[in-house]
Symmetry: C2
DNA sequence: TACATAAAAATTGTATACATTTTTTTATTT
DNA sequence: AAATAAAAAAATGTATACAATTTTTATGTA
């Protein structure tokens, strides 16, 4: 259904193009973003480009007309928030998650063990996504989402590693949720994310 | 110093004007926002108006070209996040707050007891602000800030009441922080905000 | 060389005009 | 009278032009 979707507005196309280029590193941190240059590149006027840039500014991917270059401190700050919100989401999930999602969590763990690199990465992202969604709180989901791109940007270089124990930790979280033990699920999620942060900082710093 | 500040760009002026009108109720929830109308009102072109509208959209004050009309569910969702983040901030404050800020917290409590209505309202806001700031986490501060306007919008009609025990609760939180008891401060902050939410919902629903 | 300053260039902010889409109104049919 | 389609109007999206600002470069001086 989605595949056949009509192409959206110029500003939206520009937004997606810029975001992708930032996330995949084609536009490196610190690069100056000049409206006219982007406009020429896409063959449109500056007007829609400006809107797309504003949007990326609100998302934190562009700061002061430059591609963001998140510092360690930025990453720590985001993770601090993420740990609080995803930890809480895990607790909610233990109470509210449905059988279907529970099965999908398990599937993610299994792909994490036996899948191809690309699959594994997707499954790991999906694992967190399912839990966050199950908070059933659009405000919370939104906040986590918005931080996601900057976090991804920071750990770009790390992402092809697979941290030791990562899948084991996912499995433990899954078990806790399955047993409907909210406290445990929250605690496990928090230390999982903490370990993730530290691995990330260690590799880079 | 700030008083004599140069007037900012048209889009920023427009942003402030619209935001204020929304917050003080001059533009009611559900009101359609039409670019040309606003532009004519301010005597500028649509271009800067569009930017200001986008900004308000990101802040959640405009949704689908209409002034937002937050539902009870929205308020609950925001408070859920706010309780997590401000609770945590209170914990941090217990560890890190400086003498000067502690004194200011106490001053807020005292104004809450003896001040004029306007002063009290300001002091109560300031009380929370100090604690949030002391988290020392710009990401966290930003998120709380962004929710603030929508929360304010919702409780506009409530704001001139002063909930019973509100100041007592502030004082207890202050005491816990002063005693450097992070767990207690967090717990007190959480129930304080929970009570606030319920008072608000009760008055309106 | 290092620093300040003026001129030039580049970039962003805003106005206006037109194209496209969405909403409202009106007309038509059942 | 209700439902539908066609037409008109309104509103938004985009392009272009110009004004204001910021950044860069060139130039002169200590």
């Amino acid at each position: 259904m989605y595949g056949s979707e009509r192409s959206r507005s110029a500003s939206h196309q520009s937004y997606e193009m810029l975001r992708d280029k930032i996330l995949n590193g084609e536009l490196q941190g610190g690069t100056k973003i000049v409206e006219e240059k982007i406009a020429a590149e896409l063959g449109v006027s500056r007007t829609p480009i400006r809107e797309s840039i504003r949007k990326l500014e609100y998302e934190g991917l562009i700061v002061n007309k430059r591609v963001v270059k998140p510092t360690e401190k930025d990453l720590r700050n985001m993770f601090q928030v993420r740990i609080l919100l995803e930890g809480y989401s895990a607790q909610c999930a233990a109470s509210y998650i449905k059988e279907k999602e529970l099965e999908e969590l398990l599937a993610c763990v299994e792909i994490g063990r036996n899948g191809e690199v690309e699959e594994i990465m997707k499954a790991n992202e999906r694992f967190h996504e399912i839990i966050v969604q199950s908070s059933n709180n659009p405000v919370m989901i939104d906040i986590i989402d918005r931080m996601q791109s900057t976090i991804y940007l920071f750990r770009k270089t790390v992402v092809f590693y697979n941290r030791p124990h990562l899948i084991d930790e996912h499995e433990q979280i899954y078990e806790a949720i399955k047993e409907r033990d909210g406290q445990k699920a929250e605690q496990l999620m928090k230390s999982h994310l903490q370990a993730d942060l530290e691995f990330c900082l260690h590799l880079i710093g």
